[in-house]
Amino acid sequence: MIVELGHFALILAFAVAIVQTVIPLVGAQKGWDGWMAVAEPAATAQFLLVASSFGALTYAFVTSDFSLQLVVQNSHTLKPMLYKVSGVWGNHEGSMLLWVLILTLFGGMAAWFGGNLPPRLRARVLAVQASIGVAFYAFVLFTSNPFTRLATPPFNGQDLNPLLQDPGLAFHPPFLYLGYVGLSICFSFAVAALIEGRVDAAWARWVRPWTLLSWLFLTIGIALGSWWAYYELGWGGFWFWDPVENASFMPWLIGAALLHSAIVVEKREALKAWTILLAIMAFGFSLIGTFIVRSGVITSVHAFANDPERGVFILLILAIFMGGALTLFAARAGAMQAKGVFGVVSRETALVTNNILLAVSALVVFTGTIWPLVAEMAFDRKLSVGAPFFNMAFTPFMIVLALILPVGAMLPWKRARLGRVMKQLRPALGLAVALGALVWAMNTGRSALGPIGVALGVWLIAGTATDLVGRAGRGDLAQRLRRIVRLPRADWGKSVAHAGLGITFIGIAGMLAWNVEDIRVAQVGEQFEVAEFGIRLDKVEQVQGPNYSSTMGWVSVWKGERKLYTLHPEKRVYPVAAMPTTEAGIHSGFLRDIYVVIGDRQDGGGWAVRSYVKPLANWIWAGAIIMALGGLLSLSDRRYRVAAGAGKARGSSAGAVPAE
């Protein structure tokens, strides 16, 4: 019964979305207030309906309702509760329901917090947002219905893919989708602005918080996925340039570009057309990502050809929304005259360069991701594009980006003198080069990536610090400190996020350059050396988990005569899904992780054991989290809150000159 109610709620939401697409759009065109006002309650209604639909599906999973096909395929009574819940989105149909849930959540938020928007713009934004909803409700209801019942329910389910039964991956999709789908609001704002034919500083100020919000969720989502791959897949890699990873990375890059270009629109009223284009492209890449992940086209063209229904549907959505938005863009872009004038050396130029690097690097990732598809269809060549290509083609962009970032971040707006900024940055540059050289000297014969990455990371962090110190101005220490503390949150956000990028750089460099690996047959009780540590396999036992059985090793890590830690690497077998997983035993430290994986029992006695010392591993994800924190700080900046509050106050004094 509850499941049917959920199904019905989803159909009802579909109907509400159609109304919300048509009525406010007509109202905004004709200037009818009543019609425009439909948008807000409709957005709220959509969210409530989809939320109850999602709740109904969750209920079916939690109570193990095996009359539902989806629950049978992805759940089991023995599965721990956390994974019963995360199983809701651990499959195609459920994850698409999560997709629309988040779409309506953002639509709802735009309605709830959009009080300061001009009514016409708000009506159009919500209408465009609802039109995306219409497309995806149709997709879910007609091709991927999660509420399909079975005529003869089985006694138990087939269990969730064991790889997904992990806390990291339980929360990875919601965060990723919050980012992916959040970009839809930026798209709606861009299309609404194109319909209005007006883009100004106020528009940029409204769009920026939404971009920040989705970008920071996307950052967390990607970091969670990468961290999961690190500890779950058993050899401690953190990024594989898998098409599915690229699908989330492209919107992240474009989103980062959009964040920066929107600043130029907000502060200088330049780059308007470009910013609109980026907002369209950012969501376009989200849709492409959804297509890549959901259609199976990249895994195998033939799998796609055999069951093309879903893929073609998403492709159609992509074509309609991108085609429509870009046509509108072509028609209206000319109307967006830039106002700001700036010199060749200026913050504006630096941000244009940032945008070029981020956008082109996203296109490089895109080209590499779809190339196997193009080659097979156009040239009849079956080939692969993997990590070696991406490392070569993508890394240079990031190196150049890191080189210019600290300089660009300090250049003044309009007209700047490079010499002056470089003079301030000289200590930072010196520190970076010195540390890089030191690492180089200690690094004899190893990959050059280590010293370069460390130097770039130090350059980013020290450059950020220089910027903050420079902002403190002159005077005694107390005065300076007071000034630094009182800097706008947006400035803090910028500094924190840039420093986070530096930390990630150092982490990646450390992982790539100084990873120590040891593969051997270890006898129980025998000690062996890996880097400066002694490692000993003390015992191996069979352990029973709730829905798996595990071969667990007790591995002690020694330094000289001192026992440091005991790690528990596991090899699990999930009998229902008939799949094994490896759970690495990891000790995470500030400067290095010790990572041990246990393999098979060997014929001659002993166990296959792989041990690694992974320097600076945690820095990669710590840097990502710090970047997201920077986004959060920037989001909490006073001017967004003032802008949000001003809407209520402005009602009485319409037409008043803005305070700034």
Partner: protein, 151 residues
């Protein structure tokens, strides 16, 4: 329980670990070359995994083959060519530069140059004031202005 798990393990024919201890060559230099080559070869039955990381049986066979060729005295290129001859260019994670693949390799630098060109033109245009030359007043605005100034 132990027996049950063991039985299950046999039943499922558990894919082994990626690089196994018994595969490793005695000569560390040769082994390093083998690892290097393996990281550029795709495991054909996996999704976007190289044979060095893969647990699949086929990947193990390929790893052993790579080592066999190395021990027989092949150079790195000869080993890769040997594998490509048998499995096609699909095994290469880094696509060749032959034929249409040139588009793939050139796309990045070409797009960068194009973007830098467009960006450069835009920045130069912004240097000169393109402030819309004070758009002339419309007829109604002119009338309103007259009214205000009391003419």
């Amino acid at each position: 329980m132990k027996h049950l798990v063991l039985a299950l393990g046999l039943l499922l024919a558990l894919p082994a670990f990626a690089v196994q201890p018994d595969e490793i060559l005695d000569d560390p230099a040769l082994e390093a070359r083998a690892r290097d080559i393996s990281q550029g070869l795709r495991c054909l039955v996996c999704r976007n995994e190289n044979i060095d990381d893969s647990n699949a049986d086929l990947a193990r066979d390929l790893r052993l083959l790579v080592r066999e060729r190395l021990v027989a005295g092949d150079s790195n290129e000869e080993v890769v060519d040997y594998i490509v001859d048998r499995y096609g260019e699909y095994v290469l994670l880094k696509p060749t530069l032959r034929g249409a693949n040139l588009i793939l390799w050139i796309a990045g630098p070409a797009m960068l140059l194009l973007a830098l060109g467009i960006g450069g033109v835009y920045i130069r245009s912004r240097r000169r004031s393109t402030e819309p030359a004070a758009s002339p007043l419309s007829a109604s605005e002119r009338a309103r202005l007259k009214q205000i100034t009391g003419e």
